[in-house]
């Protein structure tokens, strides 16, 4: 075992986040989803009447919608949902000071490297444990400038008008079955507002941790970047490996107003028995700039297609995505760009790696509405297959209603070339190391955009996965 234990040197042979903290929740709703559970959640949060109504309506919509027939294999999901806890309240209140967070929970996050990271570079940090945010903090300088970085619950309490004006407007309850489910049982997540012209020069970061077995996490995040403002939000997700399957379904709504710039980075490294079904969407105003940087490394099945609706002239949307599917994993990911206004531009770059029995699917939409003249969009998908049992699919939808638009889509599938391997090994590099090097090179265009600690993490994962993959 390593003695020089830094954050970067945890045991590499195992899923790094496979540790369980013993902490007793203060409240846990009964298993499964019911009106009673929804009412309990709402009561625990001391919500206004309209939110309870919103939740109950959403529950009806959820129940009325069939399970999606496309995407990943959801056959076993209904049984899983009957067995999980939709709401687990780990502590009574959210803390502003790290010292006040209960020790067991604090230990968990210390192991994940916060608030160490916060001390380094972040503008603000939030941490969600089970169903609730247990910690939120924002640097004072940003508070003074009117930036809000809060738990979603506090957003509703403290900024009711701003909240109600935008909540559920980007992703309506009935958008899909899981957005409806989230709308009924949402708990935790962030509420972010960056006022006009304010530029956060360091990121806001949120950590999501599921600790308990048979737990469902349903965070809801609402982010408003006002005119000319700039920000970057990072979320990281982990959970211990349990023998039973868990479930995560977030809804992320983002409003990027005119000339604002925003980047949302997700690195999802859930344990390999997690269903991860997330709806993420941003609307972008004139001259605005939205980037999704989406890394999907963990989970059993992820279905997630970050979207940009380019509503104002000259808006730009970008989706960079990396998917890694190891044995038994299916990453069904991609992105949507919808051009509504003239002179809008977008780009999607997707890179996937499938190994063992892993399956990576790119599913994307590029739509140009009539009137969005001079729209330009470019999509590139590259898939790398490591073994003959690996699988990859590409399902792009290209819908063009405007003649004055230019759209390109390209996809390629390849395996690691024998000549590349020989070239590297002929320089003395071991074959598995050479494989890892080629894989890292393959994702380099996206990996270089990642925050450093995640880039390091990704490299480590690849190194580990490629070990013993040759011969």
């Amino acid at each position: 075992m390593p003695v020089n234990e830094t954050v970067g040197d945890l045991n590499l042979d195992e899923y790094k986040y496979d540790f369980i903290t013993t902490s007793e929740p203060v409240f846990r709703a009964q298993k499964g989803l019911s009106e009673e559970v929804v009412r309990q959640i709402s009561a625990h949060k001391d919500e206004p009447e309209w939110m309870l109504d919103f939740r109950l309506k959403a529950l009806k919509v959820y129940e009325s919608k069939p399970m999606p027939k496309w995407g990943g294999d959801l056959d076993g999901l209904e049984a899983v949902l009957d067995e999980i806890y939709f709401y687990v309240r780990p502590q009574d209140q959210m803390e502003r000071s790290w010292d006040d967070v209960p020790d067991e929970i604090k230990n968990t996050f210390e192991k994940l490297g916060i608030p160490e990271a916060e001390r380094k570079v972040l503008a603000g940090v939030g941490a969600q444990y089970e169903s609730e945010m247990v910690y939120h903090s924002l640097r004072e300088e940003w508070q003074k400038q009117g930036v809000i970085f809060d738990s979603i619950e506090d957003g509703l309490k403290n900024h009711p008008e701003l909240f109600r004006e935008h909540f559920g407007t980007i992703i309506p309850t009935g958008d899909n079955k899981f957005s409806a489910m989230n709308s009924a049982v949402w708990s935790g997540g962030s509420f972010v507002y960056v006022p006009k012209g304010v530029s956060l020069d360091t990121p806001l970061q949120a950590y999501f941790r599921v600790n308990q077995e048979r737990m469902g996490q349903f965070e809801r995040t609402l982010i408003i970047i006002d005119e000319g403002a700039q920000a970057h939000y990072i979320e990281g997700c982990t959970a211990p490996v349990y023998s039973t399957e868990s479930f995560h379904s977030g809804v992320i709504e983002i409003i990027v107003k005119d000339n604002a710039r925003f980047r949302y980075t997700t690195i999802q490294n859930w344990s390999n028995n997690m269903y991860n079904l997330v709806t993420q969407r941003a609307i972008v105003g004139a001259g605005g700039h939205m980037e999704w940087l989406d890394g999907n490394l963990g989970s059993k099945l992820t279905m997630k297609y970050p979207s940009c609706y380019l509503m104002g002239e000259g808006a730009h949307g970008e989706i960079l995505s990396i998917a890694y599917s190891g044995d038994g994993q299916h990453q069904d990911t991609g992105g949507k760009v919808v051009h509504v206004a003239p002179y809008t531009t977008s780009s999607i770059v997707s890179k996937s790696i499938s190994k063992g029995t892993g399956r990576s699917t790119y599913r994307g939409l590029c739509k140009v509405h009539e009137g969005a003249h001079h729209a330009r969009s470019n999509v590139e998908c590259d898939a790398l297959l490591i073994n003959d049992t690996s699988r990859t699919d590409t399902y792009p939808y290209i819908e063009i209603e405007e003649s004055d638009a230019s759209v390109g889509h390209e996809a390629s599938v390849s395996k690691i070339g024998e000549e590349q391997l020989f070239y590297l090994t002929s320089r003395g590099i071991r074959a598995d190391e050479a494989m890892a090097m080629i894989v890292r090179g393959f994702i380099e265009p996206i990996a270089k955009q990642l925050p450093l600690e995640y880039a390091v993490e990704l490299n480590r994962l690849i190194e580990m996965e490629m070990e013993g993959s040759v011969g």
Binding site: A383, L385, G408, E410
Partner: protein, 441 residues
């Protein structure tokens, strides 16, 4: 219900068509009708029909089957456009002429007849080569495949049988020319092509009509089998008038080391739907799949293609290009499937669309499903306008805008035709596109 009348699309009509046919075929038709009745009409909820709404574009209940007497085998009595189309490109190993759904003429070079080549109507073939038909008919495109496949297998009124014996190579293509004239009619026909090992054949099938006063439906089921080492080219040119609904299901089976290429040219009809499935079923088999279309007014083209690689070392290369003018619309949905074990597959798929007018729209879905790792696969799709630089270049040499645009469009589409060295077809299609472009301003 119109079931009681003999000319409706009904079980009664199936019985009538079966009269005098061998038992196996009667059973085949009855079974197909049964499948048809059990199969729901495809809706836009089905992925494969997402962009073509049959509820709005096709009314089968308003259609009747043709009951007119077959036309005479006398070119002087044929419509002029049919004769012109034949004369444009007459050199052939053999001809078939279809008028209103029935074969009225067939000829084949006697030296080929002597070698055992068969080219005739399905009705003739039933009399003379029943065993071959029984072996092949509806095995490649079976009724079970879908609503239209079943309807066709139940109601086909005539068709073409082309058989090329082992090692026989035809230097000139077989040419089929079809003419449709009855508004409100549904036509069902089949094409069965069997190329035995190491044979070589090109087949060109052109369908024409004037505009119809009410919806007219034509359904063709095409089965092409290329045995080991054979070379087959299948070409379909569609030049129907408005109110025509053109529906064609094509499946090609490429055995070991065979080369089985297809070209679909879509120029006419109000609605056109082509389902093309290329199956590479023997190691070393290869298929080029070409497509070309030009839409104007409110034409709707829907191409649904698939490339199934079932064996190692197989190749397929698809290129579909189209230009859309007026309020026309095109759908391209293509999928490459590399099945487990089909290593060393090279599969490519490209679709490119030019939008020439503000009302045009296109939906492209180029899909990949790859279950083998040692493959080379890629797809690309682009949608754009005329190359402004090329247009400017031509105009700077004195061409006016319209002339320049026409040339650029022809150049764009020409890439497809340049890959299929069938001179007569290229000239004919180029002329037809030029005619359509003449209306573009």
């Amino acid at each position: 219900m119109s079931d009681s009348t003999t000319d409706a699309l009904s079980a009664v009509a199936v019985d009538r068509l079966s009269l005098g046919e061998p038992q196996w075929l009667r059973e085949q038709r009855a079974h197909a009708w049964d499948v048809y009745e059990r199969t729901p009409m495809p809706t836009t909820r089905l992925e494969q029909w997402r962009y073509t709404d049959l509820a709005k574009t096709l009314d089968l209940s308003a259609l009747t089957l043709s009951e007119s007497q077959p036309a005479q085998d006398d070119p002087t009595t044929w419509p002029e456009r049919l004769r012109v189309a034949m004369d444009e490109d007459h050199a052939a190993s053999g001809h078939i002429v279809f008028i209103d759904g029935r074969v009225v003429h067939s000829d084949l070079d006697p030296s080929l007849v002597a070698k055992g080549v068969i080219l005739m109507s399905l009705h003739e073939a039933l009399d003379q080569h029943s065993h071959l038909l029984r072996e092949h008919l509806t095995t490649t495109v079976p009724a079970e495949d879908g609503k239209f496949e079943a309807l066709n297998a139940a109601l086909w009124a005539d068709g073409i049988f082309l058989y090329v014996p082992k090692g026989t190579q035809l230097d000139l293509p077989v040419r089929v020319t079809r003419w449709l004239s009855e508004s409100g009619t549904a036509y069902f026909s089949r094409v069965l092509i069997v190329a035995e090992s190491h044979s070589r054949i090109s087949y060109v099938d052109e369908v024409l009509s004037d505009d119809f006063s009410s919806q007219t439906f034509t359904s063709t089921a095409v089965e092409v089998v290329a045995r080991d080492g054979s070379q087959v080219q299948y070409v379909a040119v569609q030049r129907l008038g408005t109110n025509a609904f053109y529906q064609s299901v094509q499946r090609t089976l490429a055995h070991r080391d065979s080369k089985l290429d297809t070209l679909n040219v879509g120029l006419g009809a109000s609605v056109s739907r082509v389902d093309l499935n290329a199956k590479l079923i023997g190691p070393g088999a290869n298929s080029d799949m070409l497509g070309l279309y030009f839409g104007d007014a409110s034409q709707h083209f829907d191409f649904n293609t698939s490339q199934d690689h079932l064996e190692p070392n197989t190749g397929s290369d698809l290129l579909y290009k189209g230009a859309l003018d007026g309020d026309s619309r095109a759908v391209f949905r293509g999928i490459i499937r590399v099945h487990p074990g089909a290593q060393k597959t090279d599969a490519y798929q490209t679709c490119r669309t030019l939008l020439l007018s503000p009302g045009a729209r296109v939906d492209s879905l180029p899909n990949l499903e790859i279950e083998a790792d040692d493959v080379k696969c890629s797809h690309g799709a682009t949608v754009g306008q005329l190359d402004a630089e090329a247009k400017f270049y031509l105009m700077s040499r004195g061409l006016d805008r319209v002339q320049a645009e026409r040339l650029v469009v022809l150049g764009f589409l020409g890439e497809v035709m340049s890959r299929l060295p069938l001179g007569g077809v290229v000239d004919k299609v180029t002329r037809a596109i030029e005619e359509k472009l003449a209306q573009h301003g």
